[in-house]
């Protein structure tokens, strides 16, 4: 089973290392805080790591989600929080790849409901949704997942934002990558890197 402590380190490190980039993306079509928000959230997760790792996987994921909800401070907080909490609710203690695909699909649905959003609204969902579907089709490799996450984040560039602050820009949101799509890509890529390094 993958080492959750290591996964947390890798994901948190990645997001924190890219905080300025995320904030710069949010500066173009939002309020210039997405990197700061993710950093605040994942620093709080790291600070709570001992406590989190003492729990079985489902409970640990719920604790991560709750920490993000409480600490991120932006719309991404309840959204990523809901993602992790739903994963915690859906995953067994020792999940298979099929379990992961199913849980992620459920978590993406929960994020959609939380944000009253749909795919193609230029949000994190445009990375998370395709990755969930790809994991479900059985042929996923670390490389294919990384590539898909990357491509779907890029694919938000020409989209017009329908949800979140970027939607205030209307047509002018076109031409910029969605910051939440990029943070989702970073998380997914970090998890692939961590798992691959492990396995």
């Amino acid at each position: 089973m993958p080492d959750l402590g290591k996964m947390l380190d890798v994901v948190a490190e990645r997001l924190i290392a890219h905080a300025e980039e995320l904030t710069a993306l949010d500066s173009a079509i939002g309020d210039a805080d997405h990197g700061l928000n993710m950093k605040r959230g994942f620093e709080a997760v790291l600070a709570d790591k001992v406590n989190i790792l003492a729990k079985p996987l489902p409970e640990a994921l719920k604790a991560i989600g709750m920490t993000l909800v409480m600490k991120v401070g932006g719309a991404s907080g309840p959204l990523y929080g809901t993602l992790f909490m739903t994963l915690g609710k859906e995953l067994p203690a020792e999940p298979s790849l099929a379990d992961a695909a199913r849980a992620l699909t459920a978590a993406v649905e929960a994020v959609k409901a939380r944000g009253k959003a749909d795919f193609d609204n230029k949000t994190m969902l445009d990375v998370l949704g395709p990755v969930a579907r790809h994991l479900g089709n059985g042929s996923a490799t670390f490389d294919s997942v990384r590539k898909l996450a990357h491509d779907r984040a890029e694919a938000t560039v020409p989209m017009k934002a329908i949800k979140g602050r970027a939607s205030f820009l209307g047509e002018r949101s076109i031409g910029h990558m969605d910051p939440g799509a990029r943070s989702s890509e970073l998380m997914i890529t970090a998890i692939c890197d961590g798992l691959e390094d492990k396995g």
Binding site: D33, R40, G73, G77, L79
Partner: protein, 132 residues
């Protein structure tokens, strides 16, 4: 009992200043008669919202007659929804988030609450608000 015979009002802004100033405007209209809670700012105090502070504000404004929450932009709404779901189940049903502008909506909602209106009427008044 005073706190329970009028619907409570909660103000959730991205800005602590907007939240405080809106609360001042509400107090000026309705005095101390309407239970009121407010908060703004992310957990570091910057612009954003904080679920813990929202829960505290709901607690401060608690009324058995219900609580109407006014929010400004998206994140304030999503974080408020999150906070509501964390309440005891019997409290959840008595809290609504109004689809109304934060400042004007809070003043209108509080004025309605002050008159003893039900939670549904308080919400409707805030939501019907067309900027005059």
């Amino acid at each position: 009992m005073r706190a329970n015979d009028k619907v409570g009002i909660v103000i959730v802004s991205h800005s602590p200043d907007v939240a405080r100033g809106t609360a001042d405007m509400v107090r000026q209209m309705v005095g101390e008669d309407v239970p009121l809670g407010y908060c703004g700012g992310n957990p570091d105090g910057g612009l954003g919202t904080d679920v813990a502070k929202i829960l505290k504000a709901i607690d401060e404004a608690w009324s058995e007659k219900g609580v109407a929450i006014l929010v400004d932009l998206g994140g304030a709404e999503t974080n408020s929804e999150m906070a509501v779901e964390m309440l005891d189940p019997e409290r959840q049903g008595k809290v609504v988030i109004c689809n109304a502008p934060i400042v004007e909506g809070a003043v209108m909602a509080a004025t309605e609450a002050w008159g003893g209106a039900s939670l549904e009427d308080v919400r409707r008044t805030a939501e019907e608000l067309s900027p005059q």
